[in-house]
Symmetry: C2
Subunit: 331 residues, 2 copies
């Protein structure tokens, strides 16, 4: 039995799993939260001890890693983390290979989650898809021709900073009307708060959910209020759904993939949100361009399952190499 070690370095929590290669249904995994003021070194130590605990003395044959930030997938070096300092140019693949004596493969979380959904989730059997996560931020990962497409610098899938409305509100990145500015959880909350400030007579439900402290409004509260018919909440979610629909319809025209898979906390916002996405995406794509938009199947385990897939691919390459060595074909 070939043992696979799968690791998911998140912004605020880390998860690890050990699974037998070929196993598709069970993942014995463990997750821990980062301590306050995390640093690369402490995060790495937390993850190593988590992995050792799960391995319990056994040796993995391959390691797959999802990292919450830009990675050079070829060398397995982390470029940086947007949340945690000390990760700059960390040779994560090399460190793990030395630590566990097995080959490793590292990629960023959106690409790895896309791979997870493709191999074990809502993308099974589809050879081209865009996975979009809508949560604190908005990001994406591609599968084209059954393989991850990372772009020339590993930056492909940055759908959060695609401009959908050039006259829209200013995003953290400095541009106007980025998808992330219109559809991410914190911005949905902020838009709602701004509207409530403008209309002190409206949004009774929202005000009670946040105990009249508008700064405490979250995307989740907006979803709850929308389900119960709150107009301001509904408007905020429909704006987010509209922005996602425009982005998805544009991408359908550009790349013509089979499926869009949407994950992340905001995608739990209910029918009104999903209806807006479907309606606007369909209206934005050309009539001849067909596609499906479906919810992610693996939830927050997508990166961990994707890490399993990365490790399976490493094993496959190793076995291919061993096979050709036996046949004496390798020089």
């Amino acid at each position: 039995m070939n043992l696979i070690l799968a690791l998911d370095f998140g912004g605020t929590k880390h998860a690890a799993a050990v699974v037998a290669s070929g196993e598709k249904h069970q993942l014995s995994d463990k997750r821990v939260f980062s301590p306050p003021n995390p640093h690369a070194q402490s995060d790495l130590e937390i993850m190593l001890s988590l992995a050792r605990e799960l391995l319990a003395g056994r040796e993995p044959r391959a390691i797959g890693v999802s990292f919450g930030g830009p990675v050079d997938a070829t060398s397995g070096k982390v470029r940086l983390s947007h949340h945690v300092s000390g990760w700059e140019n960390m040779p994560l693949q090399e460190i793990l290979e030395r630590e566990f004596g097995a080959p490793a493969s590292v990629d960023n979380d959106a690409n790895v989650a896309a791979l997870g959904e493709h191999r074990y989730g809502a993308g099974m059997g589809y050879n081209s898809l865009l996975y979009i996560t809508v949560s604190t931020g908005v990001g994406g990962g591609w599968i084209l021709n059954d393989r991850p497409w990372r772009g020339i610098e590993g930056m492909a899938g940055e759908i959060g900073h695609v401009v959908v409305d050039p006259t829209g509100p200013v995003c953290l990145c400095g541009k106007r009307g980025c998808l992330e500015r219109l559809a991410s959880g914190p911005y949905i909350a902020q838009q709602t708060k701004d509207r409530l400030n403008l209309h002190p007579d409206k949004g009774k439900l929202l005000r009670s959910l946040c105990h009249d402290n508008l700064d405490e409004i979250t995307g989740l509260m907006v979803s709850q209020a929308a389900t119960q018919g709150d107009k301001i909440a509904i408007e905020a979610l429909e704006t987010a759904g509209w922005a996602l629909g425009v982005a998805i319809g544009n991408v359908a025209n550009l790349i013509n993939p089979q499926r869009f898979i949407l994950g992340g906390s905001v995608t739990k916002a209910g029918d009104r949100f999903w209806n807006a996405i479907h309606h606007i995406a369909r209206a934005t794509a050309l009539p001849e361009v067909h596609f499906e938009i479906v919810p992610a199947a693996l939830g927050d385990k997508a990166p961990l399952w994707g890490a399993v897939a990365l490790a399976e691919d490493v094993l496959m390459r190793e076995q291919g190499r061993a096979g050709s060595r036996e046949q004496g074909e390798e020089s």
Copy 2:
């Protein structure tokens, strides 16, 4: 010597070329205009006689075809032509294979032009690129991982109907602010005309170029007037450049390709147009996302050279198959 037959079925003109496989510098080609009220059958006959003339009794070993409309590249069947009737479901590949006794490969003009620029033009040595043609319409073709990316239904590359400004003017397709609506030649002319109607005191130069008949204004006249400093013309070209810049920057974030190659008559509109594209594309893409935007190298011969590349690939596959038959590896 293996002879290649390359065919380019355009909307208003057809071109054919005969070239020796492996030849990269000379294309003995001929082009003819379609008669008025063209039909699929007459277009096909024109092309066949053009090809026979160039072949002069010799037999091609492979045929590559660029077709000005949607094609099922797998079967080599034309879906339809937007300009000429009678093409619906025409088995073009099969017809040509029967006629010339050689294997053929057919794809739509934007994909084939992208392949031409990739193999023989401004895309040589680049493994991922988007070719964009800006002319009567706006279209595109992808090369990803050194191969054409056509999408699941052959519809990839439809950048002309990507929405760049949801509050913009209405496009022929019914949506607002499509790239084609803002950047194609006829729409640049129309925008200019609308502005001239609003400002009867402005645009002396443009008015003289069209002999005071505003309906006769063309994209070319707008370019000429802009070069000589006409403000209305400059504004129209800067709007087109802005729209292309937004679209390119968004695509860079989404797909992270190495190069954007721009061809078509509108791209000859001068520095102001190109500067707007470069400036806005750079501002729209994330700072970490790098790319180049360059003019096409092959001009209106890109589809013909792309057809040569399609035929070269057919030859390569044939030779691969012959090779494995000799080795007895094929079942």
